[in-house]
């Protein structure tokens, strides 16, 4: 009898415990914590992101979103290490250069259905040119939240002090060409300051030279990505021009020389317009923002992109996709575009952009931002980009010497990356 009683009470206790545990589990399932990896640690950016997360929480009280800032230089490496370690974030920013790797691998959750189903989203408003790289088999795998044109920032004080024509004067005279831009940079360099800095290139990240070589119609590989075109004439001409600008005219700071435009030490820099936030508030200089100069292939524009993707492996992929839909809806896209220009056609007008980019003039917005986004090509990318990038970089080191044989080096590069491109 006592034995039976014990058995009964134990069963009863287990039942109570079990129901409590199940209830607990149900509650834990309700609370959803989403994590997004980003490469910005900018306070103003994070403030806006947190506001957006708080806005989402109003309709989804059980969902919290945290942002994890990873260093820019090693961002993709850190992200893939998290994935390899079984600790993938729910959402991640993705560089345009590694877009193909992520989109084609199946690592990302398809977003099209969720975005289309979101109220007032209007996915058609986003240009197809902007979504091309992030789409596979008609499905959008990451949303291109930032479409930022490359442009030339100019320090007019330094240019005038060197007795050279300012880019604005050259544009007015229809003389804004690469030859003249380099002449101006060389004139400033002679006065002891830096000439033209291709920001982030640093003789390592050669993809940033796209902002120059696109002016020659050059490209590292064919449209379909299968054939190396680095040894073709446009690329050889463009790189010979750059080599000459570095080593003969001294218009571009050489390898191992560090010059910061935003500290007032260089005549010009090529970078994305979002870097306007780096312009000095104390000791400001007279600056201008102009489109990229004309090359031998005519006028051109280049845009850098960044996408937000939802990780397929995440437990809450569907909720994460809903958050991406909320974050990039027309209203929030307008807010984001003060830092990250939107690819939404409805937001590409001077009035809206002027409100969100108070540092830029109406003319700068029209000539650089709107026309840049409308006509710009995206930076090159490829499946297995990191490996191709490294192979090209280690060979290009031979170009960054005064006595370099540019065409022979480019031939060698094509010989090496050819098989990788075909993969």
């Amino acid at each position: 009898m006592p034995y039976q009683r014990t058995l009964k009470s134990t069963a009863c206790a287990l039942a109570i415990l079990g129901s409590l545990a199940l209830g607990g589990t149900a509650q834990a399932q309700d609370a959803v914590n989403l994590r997004m990896t980003i490469w910005s640690a900018n306070e103003a950016h994070l403030k806006l992101f947190n506001e957006i997360a708080a806005g989402f929480k109003k309709d989804h009280p059980n969902v919290s979103v945290t942002y994890e800032s990873l260093p820019f230089e090693t961002y993709t490496t850190a992200l893939t290490t998290q994935i390899a370690g079984g600790n993938a974030p729910d959402m991640a920013w993705i560089f345009e250069t590694s877009a193909y790797d992520f989109v084609k691998s199946g690592a990302l959750y398809p977003l099209t259905d969720t975005l289309k189903a979101a109220e007032g989203y209007n996915l058609e408003d986003v240009g197809t040119g902007a979504t091309e790289r992030w789409t596979e088999d008609g499905k959008l795998y990451a949303y291109p939240f930032s479409t930022s044109p490359f442009a030339v920032f100019v320090n007019n004080d330094l240019v005038k002090a060197a007795g050279a024509k300012t880019p604005a004067e050259m544009i007015a005279a229809g003389e804004w060409t690469w030859d003249n831009a380099i002449e101006t940079a060389a004139a400033v360099a002679k006065s002891g300051k830096g000439g033209l800095v291709v920001r982030d290139f640093n003789y390592q990240a050669w993809q940033y030279l796209t902002s120059v070589w696109n002016g020659w119609g050059a490209s590292p590989w064919s449209e379909d990505g299968k054939t190396c075109t680095m040894a073709d004439k446009p690329m050889a001409d463009a790189l010979t021009f750059i080599h000459d600008a570095v080593f003969t005219k001294k218009a571009i700071p050489g390898p191992g020389e560090t010059v910061d435009f935003f500290a007032g030490n260089a005549a010009m820099t090529i970078t994305q317009i979002s870097r306007a936030s780096l312009l000095p508030k104390e000791k400001p200089f007279s600056w201008d923002l102009v489109p990229l100069p004309k090359g031998s292939a005519g006028e051109y524009a280049l845009i850098g992109q960044a996408g937000i993707g939802v990780m397929q492996s995440g437990k809450n992929a569907e909720t994460a996709a809903e958050f991406v839909a909320y974050m990039t809806n027309p209203e929030n896209s307008a807010k984001l575009s003060q830092f990250f220009p939107s690819a939404r056609k409805s937001l590409l007008n001077a009035d809206i952009l002027k409100k969100t980019n108070p540092l830029l003039s109406q003319e700068q917005i029209e000539k650089v931002v709107i026309s840049g986004i409308a006509t710009g090509k995206v930076m090159p990318g490829h499946t297995g980009f990191a490996q191709i990038q490294q192979m090209v970089r280690s060979n290009l080191d031979a170009v960054w010497r005064p006595e370099a044989d540019v065409p022979a080096t480019l031939q060698r590069i094509c010989g090496q990356i050819g098989p990788l491109l075909k993969r």
């Binding site: 992520f102 390592q204 191992g256 560090t258 297995g384 990191a386 490294q390 080191d397 960054w400």
Partner: protein, 310 residues
């Protein structure tokens, strides 16, 4: 005695107790070393086994696929055209580092093994880089080694135009070796200093009476007596040189070309940048084999070159 113990057993128990003194002692011993043992199992042995297991697979992190490929990664290792260049760079780096580090450490130790006023200040000075953060140390050197950096600025005051240290193949390799040597030479210096102070003074006295000049005293007395320390420091330095990573990542990223891409940096690129985790694991098995062979060879050589007083 054994009989007495037998008699002392309680009634009804025929077998001997499980917890004999010997067993209890060994359990206590194991419990004492357990924290270290668990650490080695969790952080060394299991990862080592896993790395070997990964090396037999193709692991695509993004696609979340893990496919058994047998010896394919090892065949890839044999056919990897860059690997020879990488191993060459690794050999140059290790050889340069070991020779420069040990000779400088020994020289400093001999110089600082004097009873002079203020000598402790110099000892502290040479040892201080050892406690500085490696990355901070390397970043400061990366500024100094720029073309328009501190070192070339200093050379210019003497009318010398310095090279572009990190952008020329030879100077880049010399730079990473020197940065690493200056960082760690203090540690070997202290070990040599301790060894030098352990050499009995009577031996030098006897040698002086016999008329042996200073160099001969160093060669015939000092070197043989500190040879165990030379072996120890050379093993530590060689193993350390094969693991160098942060200096390369900060200073040269393996360039120019592949001239400073040492094995660990190449492994990092393959696994973490190109996402070839399987091949990266194969490279780490190669690194493990190289370290094991070198350490074994040095250990064997000790019989011929190391002099033990006892």
């Amino acid at each position: 005695m054994a009989v007495a113990q037998e008699d002392a057993r309680p009634e009804g128990r025929s077998s001997s107790p499980f917890w004999t003194i010997a067993r209890r002692d060994s359990l206590t011993g194991f419990l004492f070393i357990a924290p270290q043992l668990i650490g080695i199992v969790v952080f060394v042995l299991i990862p080592l086994g896993l790395v070997f297991w990964y090396s037999l697979h193709e692991w695509n992190v993004l696609a979340n696929t893990f496919t058994y490929t047998g010896a394919q990664n090892y065949r890839m290792l044999m056919e990897d055209e860059s690997l020879l260049e990488v191993l060459g760079a690794t050999a140059i780096f290790s050889a340069g580092l070991v020779i420069f580090n040990l000779s400088l450490a020994l020289l400093l130790a001999v110089l600082l093994n004097q009873k002079l006023a203020g000598i402790a200040i110099f000892r502290t000075l040479f040892f201080s880089p050892v406690v500085v953060s490696l990355v901070a140390w390397t970043i400061v050197w990366s500024f100094l080694l720029q073309k328009n950096g501190g070192i070339n600025g200093m050379l210019l005051t003497f009318g010398i135009e310095g090279p572009n240290w990190l952008r020329e193949e030879t100077t880049a390799m010399i730079s990473v070796i020197v940065v690493q040597v200056f960082k760690n030479v203090g540690l070997n210096m202290i070990l040599f200093l301790a060894a030098l102070q352990g050499v009995p003074k009577e031996l030098y006295e006897a040698a002086r009476i016999d008329g042996a000049p200073a160099f001969k005293q160093f060669r015939r007395i000092t070197l043989p007596l500190i040879s165990p320390t030379i072996l120890l420091t050379s093993i530590i330095t060689i193993v350390g040189s094969l693991q160098v990573f942060a200096q390369i990542a900060v200073l040269t990223q393996g360039g120019p070309g592949l001239s400073t891409t040492v094995l660990v940096y190449y492994l990092y690129q393959q696994a973490f940048q190109f996402h070839f985790f399987g091949y990266g694991s194969t490279l780490s098995i190669l690194l493990f084999a190289i370290v094991a062979i070198l350490t074994f060879a040095q250990w064997q050589m000790r019989k011929r070159i190391v002099f033990y007083e006892s």
